[in-house]
Symmetry: C2
Subunit: 590 residues, 2 copies
């Protein structure tokens, strides 16, 4: 079918549309972390399938901008005769255009795929930015996957804990504070929370791709394609005004005259600005739902706790199986592989009541593969599990009443002494936050360093955040809270759900991460602590116990006792001896 | 002389100048933390002499805006029949004007006393802001103190470590990066650093009040009154173009046409904007000298280390004297008072070679007086020192080669068990930072919480920052670095000088603070730690030693050994036995 490459085809299209170039980002209209195949335009165009980046296609050359994580992968995936690789942050697109493009150069872009902040940066360059009315991908991408059409289901109020009507009234009250007439809800997880629905457009991320408009009286227009609504009850449909997804921008344009519309400053497409600003006013703010949604209600919290019992049982069944299989398979000369192991782990999860799907693609990484923080196994990379090295597993599930995310790093023999010290330092960083009391309203960047200090003592560190919010059967990385070096201005309060996941990575050698999901609870007036949701034994076989203090040992003993007592009735009978051994107090047998 | 109150006189002046009101801030033209008496207009006008606040004088009423620290003091100092007290942050001036003043109300202000940021806030109100050409204080304040005229001295290059010429070239290179023609240097400590001079306009703050203009070729015009230059050598005068201080704004206006002028965004007076913007362009940035100055050169660092030997000896002489005098005077029924003690401490400092003056007004606070973080003793407040309660001393000196700032909290008998736990927690917070290794370039808000954690464990905290920069014979609170909860974006690197000073305060009961001044040093590639400049024994008699870990005890022992070995040759012979006892290893006699 393709006699020309996608890039050549796009160039011809640009020429016939009187454009000198086009920007093609790795983005959908929601700036999703995980996109539907339908939206992987950049991968189709260039071959690069990383999770961030953008191409600038010009008449005589194509530039691909990717960040530090993807410099190697991009060079392996694209045709370097056609595409020049640039660094997304060190030599950004706006700077390149500033220095290399003549005034008036016409550069096309899709206004649904670009945020207002990114657009504003580009307006400082000499080129003429041309929002496209027609997408070149419609005629050119002939074997394009179908648009996502995942069925939408209701999230019952006995699971969500608050009716959609009540949520809408709470959000509408915030609109009144801003003297705003509408909230343009462009974040799929905020729509799912507001309407008490879940979707199936994208694996692991049960949010329906759609848009919504909430007016100050609490009414909602939902811009969602009808083919996704199959089983949704009439009572729900009748409580909303429904319209096709692609009517959203036009509708915003219609109603904008003289109105004030609150729009999410971080993620909303610049198409909204073009639609609203000529006649109305935009209030650029963080969507107020983002913060509301992060304070989980008692029913949601009960759901998180409950689904962690199921997930913990799946983990224990899996780890007990591993503890039997790894030595046997090594002895038989047929060691387990990362892919075998993750497949078996999924079977254990699927046995659990309430399990829906994985909450993200499992990281099953043995030995040096674990040094890549975002590794995913393939037939080509698939390493085996052995005695003298670490195996890292980062996985989780979407359950009918909540979402899980945990990491364990394990070894079945003895790792070398240096790696043992690294593991001990990561564990101590983890324990430092698990044993912390902090003033309610503290911010993530104030607490992040506690998890790093034991590594800093060794002159080491890790190049990722220490934790993130987790949605309630929503996105695995939920805004707005983060533990990281980077400033995160949002106050941490009781009812927030976070992960705590320090790590250490040595390229081409090993990777270590220990992650629990936690609930923030008030421990005394004005002060909070982290209560573990995750219930999975922590491997102490590789710990230099003499480096732990009494408070840390006590936390581990109390945690393991709780894990044992909670999970013992829920795990397979042949996993129970392993559970007892793995949760024994520290002074026993160590 | 005054038949009418200052407020009535100002009202008459406003009426005859066709103004409806005037804003009178507690500020000089440099937004100094400590002002000359000449600039204490707000105190003259209202009686309120706190370090922050502003008055809005209207035809029918006067409002005084002060922050939380000063709500009580303001009510005690002003005539409440004439003045209404408002909260500076909770009900700020701009908000009040917005809600209470009719459009076009003419409000006068002195453009040298207001920052651009404050002015910008006020422009959103309906009133007409009128910059005054003539100050009402010239005719009205008949008994006004003389304008500061402190003599300026040269800071020799063997103390400053870098010639003014070299400094100017370094700053000029930054101007080139910004494509700026001039830097308007409005911060007195930045001028003092740039020109290698020190002044005597304000006690404890040896910075000459003046202005400077640095051009891109490294030349400087210095706007400073001639009467301050008495002893300055001709070589220095000839290297500069000199002009009277009050020519600065006019000169900026003259040269602004078509020029780009870099102006300090945080502190520069809005008068500069009025002067430059009609014809030139302002680049609002943090004055680049602020960050340069914070990286001390090897000569400055050697000076800091050396003057801490002198200051440490003065402290030891003082503390040994206290250890003799406190029990004797209690036994004699004539206990020492805060004022007696601070006078005696000053005598010990004055005996030290190189001592110039105090670096700030001493805080000498016994018992419940120490619960006020910024307490200063007066005859009315003067408490005595006894056995069963804490005494807090926060003091420092300006020496010819550096500046010191330290706090010790002491008791000579036994404080109650609860206060003992508070003292132990403050000490552990202090030790947590003293034993920290952190990545070079970390920011203050990332490290601040280490000092608070032991208090947080008890549900306690303190409501001030954990540390600040210290100038080199300059300001005691030097920008830009801070350890605090508030975000501080400036990277901490080797060569920065900071204080570390956690505390705990219980109103009407007690106050505790332990403060060392530290130098940031590289301890391994990419990592830094804090090396103590302060050499003063830390009182361990009130510590619950069982709560310290081995690393903390080891730090204390090593520190005390260093204090003993360094100071033993420098202290008075009758102070030496006390020094030996106070610096004994922890396992001895405790």
């Amino acid at each position: 079918m393709h006699t020309t490459s996608p890039l050549s085809a796009l160039r011809q299209w640009l020429e016939s549309n009187h454009l000198d170039g086009m920007i093609v980002p790795r983005a959908d209209a929601w700036q999703s972390e995980y996109c539907a195949p339908y939206d992987e335009k950049l991968a189709w165009l260039t071959g690069f399938d990383g999770s961030a980046g953008l191409a600038l296609v010009l008449k005589d050359k194509t530039l691909l901008f990717v960040d530090g994580r993807y410099q190697v992968q991009a060079r392996a995936q694209v045709n370097l005769d056609e595409v020049e690789i640039h660094h997304l942050h060190n030599e950004p697109l706006a700077g390149w255009l500033q220095n290399n493009v003549a005034a008036g150069t016409r550069i096309g872009f899709e206004a649904l795929l670009m945020t207002n902040a990114d657009y504003t940066l580009l307006t400082a360059t000499p080129c003429e930015l041309v929002p496209l009315n027609l997408s070149p991908f419609d005629p050119l991408w002939t074997d394009r996957p179908a648009a996502p059409a995942g069925l939408i289901r209701e999230m019952p109020v006995d699971i969500s804990g608050e009716s959609s009507t009540d949520k809408r009234q709470r959000v509408a009250a915030v609109l009144a504070e801003y003297d705003a007439d509408y909230l343009a809800v462009t974040l799929p997880d905020n729509i799912a929370w507001l309407l008490n629905v879940r979707g199936s457009d994208i694996p692991c991320s049960p949010v329906p791709l759609s848009f919504a408009l909430l007016s100050r009286d609490g009414n909602v227009e939902w811009f969602v394609n009808d083919n996704k609504l199959g089983t949704l009850p009439d009572t729900m449909r009748n409580a909303l005004k429904l319209a096709p997804q692609d009517m959203f921008i036009e509708r915003c344009q219609q109603l904008a005259r003289g109105k004030r519309v609150l729009v999410d400053a971080d993620s909303a497409p610049v198409a909204l600005r073009f639609a609203i600003e000529p006649q109305g006013e935009i209030i650029w703010q963080t969507d107020p739902i983002t913060l509301m949604k992060a304070s989980k209600n008692p029913v949601e919290l009960a759901g998180y706790r409950e689904c962690h019992h199921q997930d913990g049982a799946a983990w224990v069944n899996f780890l007990a199986w591993l503890s039997r299989e790894v030595p046997q398979r090594v002895a038989a000369g047929q060691p387990l592989t990362e892919l075998e192991v993750q497949a078996q782990q999924l079977r254990f999860r699927e046995q659990q009541p309430g399990f829906i799907e994985q909450s993200f693609a499992t990281i099953s990484a043995s030995s040096s593969n674990a040094a890549m923080c975002h590794y995913h196994s393939s037939e080509a990379s698939n390493k085996t599990l052995g005695h003298d090295h670490f195996y890292l597993n980062d996985s989780g599930g979407q359950y009918h009443n909540g979402t899980t995310d945990a990491t364990r790093t394990l070894a079945w023999g003895k790792v070398d002494p240096q790696q043992r010290l690294h593991y001990t330092a990561v564990l101590r960083g983890f324990l430092s936050l698990m044993t912390l009391q902090f003033p309610s309203g503290s911010q993530g960047h104030q607490l992040d360093a506690f998890a790093r200090r034991p590594l800093w003592e060794m002159g080491l560190d890790y190049d990722h955040g220490t934790g993130h919010g987790v949605g309630h059967q929503l996105l695995i990385h939920e805004n707005p809270h983060r533990f990281a070096k980077k400033v995160n201005p949002w106050p941490l309060v009781a009812g927030n759900i976070m992960t705590i996941e320090p790590g250490y990575y040595q390229a081409e050698s090993h990777g270590i991460r220990i992650e629990n999901q936690v609930e923030i609870v008030e421990c005394r007036p004005g002060f909070c602590k982290f209560a573990s949701l995750t219930l999975i034994p922590i491997d102490l076989s590789q710990v230099e116990l003499s480096l732990l203090n009494e408070q840390e040992k006590q936390w581990l003993d109390e945690y393991h006792l709780r894990v044992r007592e909670t999970l013992s009735p829920l795990v397979e009978s042949d996993a129970r001896p392993w559970l007892f051994e793995a949760t024994a107090p520290i002074h026993v047998n160590r």
